[in-house]
């Protein structure tokens, strides 16, 4: 009897291949391709006066040099669209001044790292040599760096957007002004979050092969959205869609940055491959991003300045929540305003806010673009709400957990409609969840009620510790859809494809588990391909914790169709009713008989043979399917309404997102002398509905928590006033090693299945990172006894806050159940 795989912590099928060094990442492909390097702007804001490429083509090994002029010429002569700005991927009515970059700069550059000239050469060494020979003359303009400068607007990033405001959006529920005025108590918080970035270990990369015989191009790219890159490349190159194939090979991490597309390089590399092929030259071109390029020419996230005003009563009930924030979107807005929209909606977390108003301004700065990084605006929203919850607790003298409990949406209020519009353009309606149960579990896990004893004990040893908690709700699995194709080959092996891509989430394993369960086959008999437009053409992409929800559901639907067909074909062949059959151990058998029994059982492979009536026998299996071997001669070989083959496609398109949730708690110790911050315990309770594979979900939580801690304590993009990124290397950007993350992550699960999809799945990919800043700010201020308003926080910043506190510039906190002065 096949054991149920859904929910089983099976080891990953991808692993042995990757561990043997047999992965196929972008730079492992195209070993004979020409390689590309770019001249990138050293200035944050400048006019490009002249590009001198004289002599560059004489560098041995250089094949071509391109500037914006060449893009113009191509559009004029070849019907391409490469000289136009890159697409605005997600337009929104509130984005009133969208701006996107050109693939190669035209006249103006707006951040350090913007591509200006492209060199194609024998290898990267030579291409970089050639870049060094290109002389660009600039008129340097004053850059706008940071939100303060953007708001001040003494300079404009884009001359035609003088106030630097790209977008302005207000959403409101209830009468905020009246609710705020009527609230017995009010409190205002000014908060700040700095920039971080996805920073996958593998940067971006593109490899294109133009086929001069077929007039087609195959594009490999390290992307989270292969089918959409395909469409974008076709549009930019003026090709029919069926002239382009796009494949996301093994991808060395994404975390959001690879959802943006087409990157300039995704347009330019296939464009150059075709252009060189037409000139009779080599046809394969590759660009692999180096680490510095990734820092200065991909994308960042997180930076916001926030103002929160809350109205509440003496019992800690939230009555009015007024949230204004300024979001730094960098130089361009190719991904629209998804990040600030998410902040503005997910700020509400598991709470009933009373009246709610949110207003945000998305601001241009002369820095790298800002697009989703794991969490995508949620960490900032959760930070705003949870800082407010702590402030309410301190103002009312109530326990921080109690204040949260009093404001939670209750299970019997589900589905809960916030009457707002979410990032997918759909109503913000929480489908399910049990937030009080989650908080209760978390309190038990971390020992919330007993913490004062822990603190006392530490204090007695001269140590300073604090505890914090933070709740979140995460909209996951947004549409519009994903699909899957499942085919049983005559060998009985099952081949599965979905267009959605993978960046290490174990999709090959998780999707195989879903399909294997439906078809009653072993996991090893199911092979999953993702992100290959040759195998599946319709897809959206991997973002917003949607792969398991979307493609997982599509897999289930497609596999169920195949199962149904297998039963139907077998019923006819065995001359029994479908109701008398079961699909177990890779065979359809009459109930009560053993799989494989002659006359009462057919293997899936045999059924696949029978499902495809043949004229020609090319092997033993196919002999059984030829027209003289099978079939009722009074019937059509393929019955009306049927299609040949034991295969099916299935699609899942949800009405709206499903909402996962969780609570984190952390215990920190801060060094009384050095202000070093150490995480002593990190506790997680999370609810992502049905778990397909608990092992993979646990890994997602671990990784997310590490990124949450990183964003709270270590990572920031250090721009100077000239717009130079001072720490654009792994040497200077403090990405945590094993020594910088919590020694252990304690996890407890809650499973409230989503009613929106057949398996009850909610997304799990981003959850771990979301409350990181909020929970650490909460714990650090609990240890220190004064408010923490800006994240991330370094030991030296904490040290300076202590000095300010000692000087009386930073008031002490008053906290429930604690002496007034609770410094050790």
């Amino acid at each position: 009897m096949t054991t149920r795989l859904l929910g089983a912590p099976v080891t990953r099928v991808e692993d042995p291949r990757l561990l043997r060094g047999e992965g196929r990442y972008l730079d492992d492909l195209g070993q004979d391709a020409l390689e590309v390097a770019f001249v990138r702007s050293p200035h944050a804001h400048a006019r490009v006066l002249d590009i001198d490429v004289d002599g560059v083509l004489e560098v041995p090994g250089v094949v071509a040099v391109y500037t914006y002029e060449d893009l113009l010429e191509s559009d004029r002569d070849d019907g391409t669209h490469v000289s136009e700005p890159l697409p605005l991927l997600i337009p929104h009515p509130a984005l009133h001044a969208p701006r996107t970059a050109y693939p190669l700069a035209r006249e103006e550059v707006n951040h350090v790292g913007e591509a200006i000239a492209m060199v194609v050469a024998r290898d990267r060494y030579v291409a970089e040599d050639a870049c060094g020979r290109i002389v660009v003359r600039y008129e340097v303009l004053t850059p706008v760096v940071g939100l303060a400068a953007a708001r001040e607007a003494a300079q404009a990033v884009h001359a035609d957007v003088p106030d630097n405001v790209a977008a302005h959006l207000v959403q409101q529920v209830g009468d905020l002004a009246a609710a705020m005025a009527a609230a017995p108590r009010r409190h205002t918080l000014d908060l700040r979050v700095e920039r971080s970035a996805s920073m996958p270990l593998e940067g971006k990369g593109v490899y294109a092969r133009w086929d001069t015989d077929e007039h087609t191009v195959r594009v490999y790219t390290s992307t989270q959205a292969a089918t959409s890159v395909r469409a974008a490349v076709a549009a930019k190159l003026g090709l029919a869609l069926n002239q382009v194939e796009c494949i996301a090979p093994d991808i060395g991490g994404g975390f959001g940055v690879k959802i943006v597309h087409p990157w300039p390089e995704e347009v330019l590399v296939p464009w150059a491959a075709r252009r060189l092929a037409r000139a009779g030259g080599p046809r394969e071109v590759k660009w692999v991003e180096d680490r510095r390029e990734h820092f200065v020419s991909s994308a960042h996230e997180r930076a916001q300045v926030q103002r929160v005003e809350v109205g509440f009563d003496d019992e800690g009930h939230l009555l009015a929540f007024d949230f204004t924030f300024w979001h730094d979107n960098g130089a361009y807005t190719p991904y629209g305003i998804i990040v600030p929209i998410i902040t503005s909606t997910q700020v509400l977390g598991p709470y009933k806010p009373g009246a709610y108003r949110c207003e945000f301004f998305s601001m241009y700065t002369n820095t790298v673009i800002v697009t989703p990084y794991r969490g995508a605006g949620r960490p900032q929203g959760v930070y705003a709400m949870e800082r407010a919850m702590d402030a309410i607790a301190d103002a009312t003298g109530l326990d921080r957990a109690l204040v949260r409990e009093r404001n939670l949406i209750q299970p019997d209020e589900m589905p809960y409609d916030h009457h707002l519009v979410f990032q997918d353009g759909r109503p913000l309606i929480y489908d399910s969840g049990d937030y009080p149960a989650g908080l209760a579990k978390l309190k038990a896990l971390v020992g919330w009620e007993d913490f004062e004893a822990v603190r006392e004990q530490a204090r007695a040893q001269g140590r300073r510790v604090g505890i914090g908690l933070a709740c979140y709700v995460e909209g996951t699995g947004p549409g519009p859809y994903e699909g899957a194709h499942v085919v049983v080959e005559t060998s009985g092996k099952v081949k599965v494809a979905t267009g959605l891509t993978s960046q290490g989430q174990g999709h090959q394993t998780a999707f195989a588990q879903v399909v294997a369960d439906q078809l009653g086959v072993a996991l090893r008999d199911v092979e999953v391909v993702t992100g290959d437009s040759r195998r599946f053409r319709y897809a959206v992409g991997t973002f917003a914790s949607r792969a398991a929800v979307m493609s997982g559901s599509a897999m289930h639907i497609a596999a169920a169709k195949v199962r149904e067909k297998a039963l139907r074909v077998a019923a006819e062949a065995l001359e029994v009713s479908v109701d008398d059959l079961e699909l177990v151990d890779g065979a359809v058998s009459v109930k009560g008989t053993a799989p494989g029994s002659s006359g009462t059982s057919l293997s899936l492979g045999t059924i696949a043979v029978l499902a495809n009536p043949l004229r020609y026998a090319f092997d033993e299996a196919s002999q059984a399917a030829t027209q003289f071997a099978v079939g009722d001669t009074s019937q059509a070989p393929v019955a009306p309404g049927e299609e040949p083959g034991l295969e099916a496609s299935g699609y899942y398109s949800p009405q709206r997102s499903t909402f996962a949730s969780g609570v984190h708690a952390v215990v920190v110790e801060t060094d009384p002398l050095t202000a070093e911050i150490t995480v002593l315990r990190y506790c997680v309770v999370h609810d992502c509905g049905t778990l397909i594979n608990p092992r993979i979900v646990q890994g997602q939580v671990h990784g997310g928590v590490a990124q949450g801690v990183a964003g709270a304590l270590y990572e920031r993009m250090e721009y100077d006033e000239h717009g130079q990124l001072l720490n654009a290397s792994f040497m200077d950007f403090l990405m945590p090693y094993a020594t910088e993350v919590p020694r252990k992550v304690e996890i407890d699960h809650l499973q409230t299945p989503s009613p929106l999809n057949p398996l009850g799945i909610k997304g799990a990919g981003e959850a771990g990172v979301i409350p990181g800043m909020a929970v650490l700010a909460s714990a650090i201020e609990d240890a220190e006894g004064f408010r923490i308003d800006a994240m991330p926080i370094s030991p030296s910043e904490l040290f300076h806050l202590r000095q300010a506190h000692e000087r009386g510039e930073l008031p002490s906190l008053t906290r429930a159940g604690r002496p007034k002065e609770f410094l050790p």
Binding site: L18, L19, R291, G504
Partner: protein, 171 residues
């Protein structure tokens, strides 16, 4: 090592002999060719990855005469005549995974797999010197490499598991 000028590039090239995973290779490379590039693009052993190009992330770690080194910080020419082991050379000839590789499977020690070869090589070398690690040792063993996916918890677990497996196999 012999040097010559490549007529196509005008660049001085050298013939470098490398014994990689037990097999001698001879490649003609420019003097500036990095060992990581020579392994990946001349010998086409692409299991060794490059994540930062300046020796911080450790994804490019290989064994040079048995010692872990960052191949992105070495010139191919400087490895002339030396013995190298890459991740492709770790499993048994019959395909059986090395205990460290098996431990990564068992403990879900990898997600995207990009940093993984560097970790595996580093840990394999560590365990040869420290066959009986405790939790602190496990942390030390993997503390010099960057991973963005796993949060390191399961990599630390894999160090302990690999030691356990090694004791079982005598490797």
């Amino acid at each position: 090592m012999t040097t010559a000028d490549d007529p196509a590039s005008g660049e001085q090239t050298l013939v470098v002999r490398l014994r990689v995973n037990g097999m001698w290779h001879e490649v003609r490379v420019p003097g500036r060719r990095l060992l990581s590039d020579a392994l990946r693009h001349d010998l086409r052993l692409t299991g060794t990855h490059v994540g930062c190009e300046h020796g911080v992330c450790g994804a490019c770690t290989v064994l040079l005469d048995g010692e872990p080194v960052r191949s992105c910080l070495l010139l191919a020419a400087s490895a002339d005549g030396h013995e190298l082991t890459t991740v492709e050379g770790l499993a048994e000839p019959d395909g059986t995974l090395h205990p460290v590789q098996q431990a990564f499977v068992d403990c879900h020690g990898l997600q995207c797999g990009f940093c993984t070869p560097g970790f595996v090589m580093t840990i394999a070398a560590y365990l040869r010197e420290n066959p009986d690690p405790d939790e602190d040792d496990a942390l030390a063993a993997c503390a010099g490499n960057l991973c963005r996916c796993t949060g390191y918890q399961n990599i630390k677990a894999a160090v302990l598991r690999a030691a356990e497996l090694s004791r079982g196999t005598g490797r």
